[in-house]
Symmetry: C2
Subunit: 140 residues, 2 copies
Amino acid sequence: MSKRFDTPQDAEDAFYDAFEAKDLETMARVWAKSDEITCIHPMSPVLQGREAVLQSWRQIFSSPAKLTFLVHHKQWIETEDLALHVVEQTITEEGQDRQPVPPMAATNVYRHSPQGWRMVLHHVSPPPPPVQVGPNPMHS
Amino acid sequence: MSKRFDTPQDAEDAFYDAFEAKDLETMARVWAKSDEITCIHPMSPVLQGREAVLQSWRQIFSSPAKLTFLVHHKQWIETEDLALHVVEQTITEEGQDRQPVPPMAATNVYRHSPQGWRMVLHHVSPPPPPVQVGPNPMHS
């Protein structure tokens, strides 16, 4: 029997655990069984639908890098059917001496379904450059 | 009397109109009257609360650039109290001969309140580089 996520946070915990463990089966269970799901990796095009989204995780999990995550909530809005968590996720790579990548902002959205809470959006931005020059909508 | 946004799309239309017109007053009305609002401009740190968010728009609007937007919906989930729109926004700058910037992915979230629908999150990612090398959670 597959585990049910009774809260948005249960789904989020499973998401980051699956990411660390490179567990594609759990990752597939975290995402809603719908083609109305969207995943935006840093500097990557918008991916939509289960096939494209899960294919991207298969590709990420094929890397030998051993990643660990630190997740810090920045915004938290939960309603009966939809939940928005904005987080800063800090990724560190085991065995790497280089400076850790600065935290990246991620928007995670979960939707309630008869199968419990499932992820419908994961949108990650690359971290800002070290020297900040103020917001620029063209950033070019 | 300030205009009420009866649907999430009304608020979104006003958001992009205000962005094009550099209309800070309308922009301030689009955002929820709450400190639980978040704005993530491309390559910029996470901004939270009305003061920081509106200050960033004041700074963006102070640029002489005349921008126009083309907005294409990619994902659309609306519930009674919370609405998620993922869009691709293409910005062009008047009088510029250079190649237009490729579309940027934006997540816009709206929340229902006694004052109508208001924006609670605007999260924009920079466009992917011209040559795509596949999703990479470290992107470094």
